[in-house]
Amino acid sequence: MNLLTLFLSALLINNVILSKFIGMCPFMGVSTKLSSAVGMGVAVIFVIFGASVLSWALYYYCLVPLGLEYMKLICFILLIAAFVQFVEMFIKKNSPSLYKSLGIYLPLITTNCAVLYVALDNISQGYNFIETLVNSIAVPAGFMLVLVIFATIRERLAGSDTPEAWKGNPIAFVVAAIMAIAFSAFAGLV
């Protein structure tokens, strides 16, 4: 498959949030402020890229030769949890400034479904190593793109006069619905 097509389709057309509905929890949770949206987005890109490349290697170099494909779910989720711990420790030691901006989002990522989704997707689509690299960067980039756009809208929304029952998340879902319409226009891109 053409790598550019793969990149664009994972970034825009099959966007994780608006088209696959994956990673909704952090999407609703940290999108109230632009600064936290950027922090979460960067942390997610970092973790998804690392964790899914590692999972790919674990699957093809360890589980497949041993005939243990059924272990992939257990292995991947443990690998992701370990990787998140490792990244947190590494940042703490080496870059306090980075820790300041990403530190609180890292523990959240273990249970972010997007991480496991990308790891499983790379396997189920049968991607080779290069395609895995491209896919693992495009998917979280799409996540961050939507998260940042959404956060800017929500910052404006906070000051508007919404009915009591619609305040907070319900109105945010309406915004997401409108964004999904906008993003569905990308379907003709490739």
């Binding site: 589980l63 243990l68 272990m71 690998l79 420790m89 306090p96 609180i104």
Partner: protein
């Protein structure tokens, strides 16, 4: 035989997790980051781990 290997792999990954958890916990938080607070206002997810931890911390203080 295969089952034993499978259990070994899972155990190894669990061990890795435990080791990294302890190592991570023992690494001191860098200066100036001791009281980082997530921005929980406006988020509806009340069962979220970050919020629970923050509430605990506030109760302890």
């Amino acid at each position: 035989m295969n089952v034993i290997v499978a259990i070994l792999i899972a155990a190894a990954l669990l061990g890795l997790n435990a080791w990294l958890y302890v190592a991570n916990k023992n690494t001191p938080v860098p200066e100036g980051c001791e009281s980082l607070k997530p921005d929980c206002a406006g988020c509806g997810i009340t069962d979220c781990a970050v919020r629970i931890r923050q509430n605990d911390r506030e109760e302890n203080e």
